[in-house]
Amino acid sequence: MQHGHVGGHVKYFAPTTVEEAVGLLAADPGRRVFAGATDVIPQLRAGRPEPTGLVDLKKIGRLTAVACDDRTWTIGAATPTARLTEHAVFPTELPGVSEAAGLIGSDQVQNRSSLGGNLCNASPAADSVPALVVNGARAVVVGPNGTRTMLVEQVPAGPGRTNLAPGELIAEIQIDRPAPRTGDAYLRLIPRTEMDIAVVGAGAQITLADDGTVASARIALGAVAPTVVRVPAAEAALVGKRIDDAVLAEVAAAASAACNPIDDKRGTVKYRRHVAGVLARRAVTTAAERAAGVTSAARTNGAHA
């Protein structure tokens, strides 16, 4: 390894406004943006094609701000995820998103990693993505043609690929504040306790009606398909019902059926399908407990079935 990362040809830019960042990308399509660089630097070291320039988004105030009005959380896309997990309010209002953010790498990584980076790196195993999807999160995208808003679940196009157009970047993630009697949760399985990539991840958001039945449900799975997977059959099985063992068995079966996983060193297709069902059931259970006002920490490891 040479002293420089990639041979000393890559220019570094640190714009202070979104407009400046968009202009830098428009001027040279070989440039790419980064936030924490926790994926970019390992990828460059692994020999990925080098960009002509790296555009650092962290010096843009809007991209590292966390704000909340009476309806919506607006999180700068380059905000370190540690700013969310240590936030005074965010983890109590969106515990599932906070749990997912707190599972990305180590403390060192979480001081750098961001929701925008986790989303745009487009790993099928990205922990924050299923948690954002079940909360209906949106990505505010800026580019040469102005601003548009996409659902987070529409951003990944496949492993390492997004549906952003050339020259576009994500400025903010917006998450609506949860309705009354709503809870979320995110769980993942890794073969050890820390610092690994999800074998399966499962997010759930549940809203309960006053009579204790499920008013709405969203379930999303990570690491079981090229992109994040919603499980409409499991969501439909829940709505209008009380959560009991029979309904949870339906949720698990639907989650297992929705998977399209790969065999790799972290798990086989059969194992991933089974674990997806287990984690979906547990995520729904925890989200519903939170919706009902029962405080509980989600079990962060599904190994002990």
Partner: protein, 157 residues
């Protein structure tokens, strides 16, 4: 190779140095500033051997472009002691005889300093949550030393 000029604060002192534009902060600290306490382990943010405090946040310096350090405030293991007086974490490391080969220990100490700044009386779970790797397996002594340092800091305050 194009080099850029970086001005920042390291261990309380102003530093100006030239470094490759796309190099890492880790390499800049070692090769351009001469602070070799920071070590390269994996180079991809997994092991923590290169941990420093970057604007107060525990960070793997291998995952930071040196160019990002413009104007930053950086603390390395060399900056923990107050003159000849070691930091309580360093003193505890000696008293528990933590190091075996020693390669990862500067990073372990930085992680411990960061933990005790956030949690002065850390639970066993918090102590065990540090993810810095040690191939010698000195974890039991690391955990004892963190508890010892916490007690020493408490006594001092």
């Amino acid at each position: 190779m194009s080099r850029i000029h970086i001005s920042c604060t390291i261990n309380g002192d102003a530093h100006d140095f030239l470094t490759p534009e796309d190099g890492s902060l880790l390499n800049a600290l070692r090769d351009d500033v001469g602070l070799t306490g920071v070590k390269e382990g994996c180079g991809t943010g997994d092991c923590g051997a290169c941990s420093v405090l970057l604007d107060g946040n525990l960070t793997c310096s291998c995952l930071v472009f040196a160019a990002e350090a413009q104007g930053a405030d950086i603390v390395t293991v060399e900056g923990l002691a107050d003159g000849d007086r070691l930091h309580a974490v360093q003193q505890a490391w000696i008293e528990e005889d933590v190091a075996q080969c020693g390669y990862c220990q500067a990073g372990q100490i930085m992680a411990a300093v960061d933990l005790l700044a956030k949690a002065p009386d850390p639970s066993d779970e918090q102590v065990a949550s540090l993810t810095n790797l040690c191939r010698c397996g000195t974890y039991p002594r690391i955990r004892k030393a963190i508890k010892r340092a916490a007690a020493a800091l408490k006594e001092k305050s």
